[in-house]
């Protein structure tokens, strides 16, 4: 197991390198010069060349990439081209926000999809199942920005129960932190829950048709035990995969939701950085997101082993 973990970790390194190289190339290929975008309509030729020089943009491309890479290896991600803040500090400020929002959203998603998926599978083709399927399909079809705005309208404007925007850190005021993250987490969680419910429904109902389940019933085990102790564990593997993919996606930053609820997370940071071609910020955020996705997929693999005893890693 330890060997497996080590090998996985080592295999991540070339992947991360390739990711950063591709991102670097893509940003450089995009039309638009960061110095020009920073100076906006104050861009005299002299100001442009001065700014490019001070930002190191006039160096040859391989040198720019390698210089970034060697600093990143020391965990120094450089400074933002647009506002001079340390990229490391920006990431340290915003990563916990995105992390907390993602985990909160996936928790809500689990709380909805596990019971809904199970009920749907067990009561397949009854009116309960049809209702849950309808709700799931609506959840998948509903654009999350629309849901977000609806929630703001209902809970912040009409009922005035929850502030419309903002973020307070968990350390500063846990109550307010959870309150402010509730609506965005629900917005993200509902969409995810809809997808996961469908996955669980299909894999669980397939499992419930297996012979060993029929045997378990025949042996006289209580229905609840059959489902939760035997069938569910085996049905969880596709569910876990989907769960991992969704969590990984959220860790990259939920741009639209962050925009609607004004949450200072990774998504907004990345989008703004792309619009201003702020390469150090883009590289830093992409690298951290890639590491996060890698860790999630690693944990999901471990999860498979926990759920299915036939899976062993060597």
């Amino acid at each position: 197991m330890a060997v497996f973990a080590l090998r996985r970790l080592l295999s991540a390194i070339p992947t991360l390198l390739i990711v950063t190289l591709i991102v670097f190339a893509m940003v450089k290929l995009l039309p638009g010069d960061p110095a020009r975008l920073i100076l906006g309509q104050e861009a005299t030729p002299q100001a442009l060349s001065e700014l490019r020089r001070s930002l190191g943009l006039d160096r040859p491309l391989p040198q720019q990439y390698l210089s970034w890479l060697t600093s990143a290896a020391r965990l120094d991600f450089g400074t933002s081209l647009t506002d001079h803040s340390s990229v490391g500090r920006l990431i340290a400020q915003k990563l916990p926000v995105t992390l907390e929002l993602s985990l909160f959203a996936m928790l809500i998603s689990l709380l909805i999809s596990l019971p809904a998926g199970m009920i749907s599978a067990v009561r397949r083709s009854t009116w309960v199942d049809r209702l849950l399927t309808l709700l799931a399909l609506s959840g998948i079809s509903l654009p999350n920005f629309f849901l977000g705005i609806l929630l703001i309208y209902l809970f912040s404007i009409r009922l005035a129960w929850i502030p419309a925007s903002g973020y307070t850190s968990l350390m500063e005021n846990p109550g307010r932190n959870l309150l402010l993250l509730l609506l965005p987490a629900v917005t993200l969680g509902v969409g995810s829950a809809a997808v996961l419910t469908r996955y669980l429904r299909s894999s669980l109902s397939e499992t419930l048709n297996q012979d060993y389940v029929r045997t378990a019933h025949a042996k006289g085990l209580a229905a609840r035990q059959v489902i939760s102790k035997h069938a569910l564990k085996n049905a969880l593997i596709p569910f876990l995969t989907a769960f991992g993919l969704q969590l990984g996606g959220l860790l990259g930053g939920a741009v639209i939701t962050e925009q609607i609820f004004s949450i200072p997370g990774f998504g907004r940071l990345l989008v703004d950085a792309v619009f201003t071609r702020d390469l150090p910020v883009i590289q830093g955020v992409v690298l951290v997101s890639a590491v996060a996705v890698f860790l999630v997929s690693f944990l999901v693999d471990l999860g498979y082993a926990a759920v299915d005893p036939r899976i062993r890693y060597h």
Binding site: Q41, E42, T44, P45, T82, D83, S165, I260, F275
Partner: protein, 491 residues
Amino acid sequence: MRRVHFLTAILSAALLTSLASAQTLTVGLDADPPKLDPALSTALVDRQVMNQIFDKLLDLDVNLKVIPALATSWKVTNGGLTYTFKIKSGVKFSDGTPLDAAAVKYGLDRNRTLEGSARKNELSSVKDVKVIDAQTVQLSLSQPYGPLLAVLTDRAGMIVSPTAARKAGTDFQNNPVGSGPFTFTSRVRQDNITLSANKNYWGGVPKIDKLVYRPFPDGDVRYANLLSGAVQAITPIDPKDVSKLTENAKFSVLNYPGIGFQGVWFNVTRAPFNNKNFRQAVAATIDREAIAKSIFYDTVTPAAGPFPPGTAAASSSIKVQKPDIALAKQKLGGKPLNFTLLTSPGSINTQMAQVYQAMFAQAGINAKIEQVEFGTLLDRADKQDYDALMLGWSGRPDPDGNIYDFFVTGGTNNQAGYSNKTVDSLLAKARAQNAMSARVATYNVALGTIINDTPYTWVYFQRNLVASVKGMVGLKPIPDGILRFKDVDLK
């Protein structure tokens, strides 16, 4: 024992009163100010915050007249080559250091020489800054430059604390220190900037104790936050929300003239718009009043030139033309005209592009719309790789700022690639004149040629739109769009 009770009572009463009257005002802007450094700032939204932290040498009144601020009086001598300013005495920066002529010299020199300073262009005529005495500063120019006083009412005239700036170097923007009505307390990027009232402000302590700025790039989100009470003021307002806010008894709306313009550039360096008739044809199809009404709900003013009404160089002789499809067809001379109209994303831009397309089609002109993200748009504009381009200008208080760099050969904002020697000499002449009436006359002559040549066609002047809770009073509608909070109170 009794004295302790008495003291406790007094102290707690004092504490409670101060808590009760601690006023926090939260303002919603449309972007997160990137740089709070007067020398390095290039985004206009920076100015909203910087105007509270820093004092300027000069300021503007509601009629865009230059008025004293840190400079109590000034003299322009030597044919416009020498400017002598008297500086207010007794002013201190919020770090306790004095604001005297030496500090003013430091601030101006920093704006002129700091690496990466975006103020070099507008201060390029200043040769030298001299301290005459503790309250007097003298600027020597290499050539006369009429717009200088107006330039000093903006970032170029903001005075930073030399002690703080020297210590912080390029990191000054993350901890700015000035002498203004508010001091910088903290900021969290893309979340908020918090300022506190400057208890030693020479102009009187502001009634607002804490001023918080929050960015909401999306207009609907900004509006929702005003309605929900998360913010007490927002600017700008999406045109479609203006009437709802005006009718809402809880809010008041300020709708006042601005100093910028919007329109369409034509690339005169290549076909099809190297043909003047084609440019004039397209310009003739635009119905400016219809656009102002249908897309902007009358929150903008139709435009025919670069100077908005109420500004010094606005001229009644430049009239907004009604659309003339017959004229457009005549200019086309039976030849087909197909081109691509370039614009950046956004619901207003999308609507405008579609309305333009429909208006052009009335004369048989066929326009394709291409939407690219703003960075790409600027890039294409710089390389003159476009046919027609929707782009405007936020405006400057001095007329030179709305015309010179746009139409002079090789000007930094001359996206059309327009070049006309007569216009060049007229614009240079106006820049060197000091009397505004003489300058306006010169601009009008230049505009005669420019408007006829149509490298750009003006469509509308944007207005400043600010919504606030009814209890917010004291905000002056100064056309540069900056909200000055030193006299504002929340009742």
